[in-house]
């Protein structure tokens, strides 16, 4: 039970799915090195960030259609804006239009084909 509490049912379910049905998809995603650089975040400002996606050899992956999703785990709402991700070449993607208007814990996810390829938590300050 503590294991379930710690890792959450959804993660365990996702691991099982990876093991059974979607091994190849998950493996492909796992091999990617995805990074998102953002400065310290505060409310009511617009931020730009740089996303990089590389394979296990460090070679940038191009041509991806990435999406961003954000939410506050303690609240029922998502991001106040609709940020856009555009490709810059060599596995680099620029993120623009990111903004927060509520302080606290935010979870930012980068998705490719509906699959989460990066999940990061941020604390947004006043």
């Amino acid at each position: 039970m503590p294991f379930v509490l710690r890792y959450g049912l959804s993660k365990i379910f996702a691991l099982l799915l990876c093991g059974v049905a979607f091994a190849s998809v998950c493996a492909a995603a796992e091999k990617w090195e995805v990074t998102l650089d953002l400065p310290p975040l505060a409310v009511n400002q617009f931020y730009e960030g740089l996303l990089t996606v590389a394979d296990s050899n460090g070679v940038g992956i191009t041509g991806l259609r990435l999406q961003i999703r954000g939410r506050m785990p303690e609240h029922a709402h998502g991001l106040p804006t609709a940020p856009q991700i555009t490709e810059k070449g060599q596995g680099r993607y620029s993120l623009k239009g990111l903004s927060f208007n509520m302080p606290g814990r935010w979870v930012i996810e980068i998705l490719h084909d509906g699959e989460t390829v990066l999940r990061q938590e941020y604390t947004v300050r006043f």
Partner: protein
């Protein structure tokens, strides 16, 4: 003897070392009245400030021009801007009552009006206008009111002709395009793509552009006037100043213990008020579903506001550079976030407000607090808030604190 003296000195030294932290802590608590540094920093961000006003009005090049302020002041009180010639901006936004609609003029004009006219104190600090945020600038908000058949009920050509006829001689620099307006054919007298498109199409593209430019000048002048419509300082602001200065005596004289308790509740993220009501106007400029939408009347929510904004011929993207318009360029269009959502209003000077929430459903702040304690959630209804856990005496404390946000020091 010398040994005794040395021992006493050593004892005093050790005692001073032990006692110093306690003394220091007690002194800090006395200066900051028990507030943590984070809380004081948060309060500093709630303190009234107009620092951001220039940035929020970047799309208005007339914003700081004195002649625009003067013209805007006259226009604000000019009934000639209305179709009937009977009402002005000041009819609903009463200057003597915090620019609020204290006499419910909105509803007298249209008993079916879905929204009430909000107060204007600090309006130039806002990011979005109207309860659904369908305008992204103060100047475009004013233009929408002039052409709204439920409000000033005029049209842009009528408004431009009126302003040129009455004010051209007094404001030649601002109204330098009036001579071109005077060359327009006398008929049709009024025209607008929104109000009377048939008449509007009778003008050439160049004429329509001239009319629009003059119309925008009217909006930008009104916005320049509203720059001065700011809330005076409140006891809360003075309390923050006293805390920052470490003047605990002054702070204690500004807020009583009940108000301070209410302030602590307000700042508590678990209570939740400050999550949305933050910044110098106590609003984060966001849109949230707080269980105030009425089934079947959702057409006035943020979801519709976004559609109207993107279709507006006066939004920032259509009158400025894209890089100056991130609010519009990256506007949230996901209906999961916008359906049933309304703008977070300011909490300053609530004493002027005749009613609360976007539709004026509550007549008292007590009723609003009760709403947040027990929001009416329905199955399948998206609501962004959770019930605020407030005991009866805490509701009273919160209410006391909100009164300290009124500008009148006697409140």
């Amino acid at each position: 003897m010398s040994r005794i003296l040395i021992s006493i000195c050593a004892l005093v030294f050790v005692l001073s070392l032990i006692g110093l932290p306690f003394f220091h802590e007690a002194n800090a608590e006395n200066v900051h009245l028990g507030w943590s540094e984070d809380e004081i920093e948060l309060m500093r961000r709630l303190r009234l400030s107009v620092e951001a006003v220039a940035d929020k009005n970047r799309s208005n090049e007339l914003f700081f021009r004195e002649d625009a302020v003067e013209l805007g002041s006259r226009l604000f009180n000019d009934t000639g801007l209305s179709g009937s010639g009977q009402i002005a901006c000041a009819s609903c936004h009463r200057p003597e009552s915090g620019f609020q609609d204290t006499e419910s003029v909105t509803y007298r004009l249209n008993p079916q009006a879905a929204h009430r006219a909000p107060g204007l104190l600090g309006v130039a600090m806002q990011d979005w206008f109207f309860w659904d945020g369908r305008a992204d600038s103060l100047w475009s908000q004013a233009l929408a009111v002039i052409e709204n058949p439920q409000e000033l009920a005029s049209d842009r050509l009528r408004a431009v002709r009126h302003v040129c006829a009455r004010y051209e001689n007094s404001f030649p620099a601002l109204l330098k395009d009036c001579p071109e307006i005077s060359t327009l054919p006398a008929a049709p007298w009024g025209a607008s793509p929104l109000v009377d498109n048939e008449n509007w199409q009778k003008f050439t593209a160049a004429q329509r552009e001239n009319i629009n430019k003059m119309f925008v000048t009217i909006g930008k002048s009104l916005a320049a006037f509203e720059r001065g419509v700011m809330p005076p300082i409140s006891r809360f602001d003075l309390y923050v100043d006293a805390l920052v200065e470490g003047n605990s005596v002054a702070a204690k004289n500004l807020l009583n213990s009940k108000e301070v308790a209410g302030l602590k509740l307000f700042l508590d993220p678990m209570v939740g008020c400050v999550n949305c009501h933050n910044g110098p106007m106590f609003s984060n400029s966001g849109f949230y579903a707080v269980a105030t939408d009425s089934p079947g009347r959702r057409e006035n929510d943020r979801k519709q506001g976004v559609t109207l904004l993107l279709n507006s011929e006066f939004n920032c993207l259509k009158w400025g550079n894209a890089e100056d318009c991130p609010k519009v360029q990256y506007v949230q269009t996901d209906t999961a976030e916008t359906a049933g959502a309304y703008k977070v209003p300011s909490l300053r000077n609530l004493r002027h407000a005749p009613a609360f929430m976007h539709d004026g459903r509550y007549q008292t702040v007590e009723a609003v607090i009760e709403h947040y304690r027990n929001p009416a959630t329905l199955p399948l209804r998206h609501v962004d808030i959770r019930p605020a856990a407030l005991l009866p005496h805490q509701r009273g404390q919160l209410l006391s604190f909100l009164k300290a946000l009124n500008s009148d020091p006697s409140n």
